[in-house]
Symmetry: C2
Subunit: 357 residues, 2 copies
Amino acid sequence: MKAIAVEPGAGEPTLVERPRPEPEPGEALVRTLRVGVDGTDHEVIAGHHGEVPAGEDRLVLGHEAVGVVEDSNGTALEEGAVVVPTVRRSPTAVGTNDYFERGEPDMAPDGEYVERGIVGEHGFMAEYFTSPAEYLVEIPEELASLGFLVEPISISEKAFEHAFASRSAFDWEPESALVLGNGSLGLLTLAMLEDVLEFDRTYCLGRRDRPDPTIDAVEKLGATYIDSRETPVPEIPDAYEAVDFVYEATGYARHAVETVDALAPNGVGALLGVPEPWEFEVDGGRLHREMVLHNKALVGTVNSHRGHFESAVDTLTQLPDWFTDDLVTGVYGIEEYQKAFETGDDVVKTAVEFASL
Amino acid sequence: MKAIAVEPGAGEPTLVERPRPEPEPGEALVRTLRVGVDGTDHEVIAGHHGEVPAGEDRLVLGHEAVGVVEDSNGTALEEGAVVVPTVRRSPTAVGTNDYFERGEPDMAPDGEYVERGIVGEHGFMAEYFTSPAEYLVEIPEELASLGFLVEPISISEKAFEHAFASRSAFDWEPESALVLGNGSLGLLTLAMLEDVLEFDRTYCLGRRDRPDPTIDAVEKLGATYIDSRETPVPEIPDAYEAVDFVYEATGYARHAVETVDALAPNGVGALLGVPEPWEFEVDGGRLHREMVLHNKALVGTVNSHRGHFESAVDTLTQLPDWFTDDLVTGVYGIEEYQKAFETGDDVVKTAVEFASL
């Protein structure tokens, strides 16, 4: 079967031929429909993140997949069911660990997990993949074409859950939210904040010039676009307002720090970016004082678990059609897979299509 | 009546004569027993923090008080009841605001509160004080001599509640805790972590040489003393272990940043210090990445509400007698009040005694 793999640091993925996998007991065989491309894929391709499986020289990419159960292999799944796989797996071929046992693989520390398509285990960019049935989340057939958005949405489901939990010890009624970053995850999150969580006022920070499809999407969602070149994050409270919730999806480390400045009293910032080491000067005294005197919190969050995928399916049904139409700027067949990895100002979210329903 | 007041920046408090206050409707008159001294008092005395009441030139100090209801003035309190006052009050003479209405004055932002003995309203270091009955928490008579510890304990009750709430979205079973700072609040918190919350392993960071009464208390509690001059915070994971919970009570801004390094995956740091502005270099990229990939959180927390005072009363009954005996190194009558403000290596926690039961 065909698969899209990368040799770390090679700079671009290649089409490879691999044997079709055979499901082990407890696993189902899934025929892949579509697999999304995101910033993590680009980091893996560039060699900044990720790890090939032990003893291999390439990693099959892809962690945002949707497929159809081809062979249920005795599991409770029905053949023909449309499914989305979760990403983390136990690093041991046999057995598992406490994090997986209690359904919280997203909380496993280094060494206690592998990530399909990212760290130590092949991903889903292949015509077929196998997975333990418990890591396959069924979705309605009518969502099949957008099923590759379930995984990125699940990332924000978790971020919301953890960030909002940090505000659960008091009466918190957030009205305003700021998304740092207008990439596909930032836009998906903005749409969730506007249309599902129904924040009164939302803002999205980017550094692009108009006309731009992401700025159009921001404004069509009813949010305010903030150009970081004109209004740096610490100036947002004066130029607009201090916000109750900040979602950082840039991987720009200064933004993690500046989130404290952008927050209103009692606000929380969810941090999701994964920057490289970078030393810079901060007014640590002022930030520390500000966090304390105004009860502010910062919550780092990574990955997501099955429950977040299930919430994400619900969320996906609530996003407006125009939005997902605008968000997905390209779906490419396997023969033109390279187009799915191209970047540019007119590219927002892309996917590779391996088969149709 | 006698009161202890400070002219901001004068450098030391003075004994002043003031009229005995008359309770307004809804207020009780309280005869003061003891009032504790803490770091905030020293900051107010030094002129780094706090604000005198509008139109006055001095602030009566004291926010850690215990007293006896002298005149219930028609409120539901019984005369003779031993009470501890909460600290924040509405800034408006008439009426209140949403934060006070819902019992969360600790979450009120700047301008929405005054703090007795700290910001904009006289404190409790006087022979009598008045307070709305709703801000007086009854405590058992046998706790009267230690009642001035209820307020500082309540600060940590809130910090625990908020920090632990941030970990409530997953199965978190913390075993190890690190208290940054071996002042009286640090030691009280360490005792709570050891004897009430029953953490398996606790550590307390300071920068003192043995023999030292705070190091003795740390070790008698069963905790490990860490000298920050030998083991800086970022080296604690290698020298001891990465911990599930950090409680920062130093006001040293680098510690707020270094808390991220000291935390185990999925851990949380509660920040309580109130430093001055201070610019320094940090590896913001590494810290940001670390917070995200290991699901770490930082939660700033200030002040406390009535519920935290009520929990603190329970907590106080659970602290061992030897500990509170060792903690309170001096209780001084009003004529020798100056001794209560002296600092030194043999001073841990002091109080001024205005009257006995």
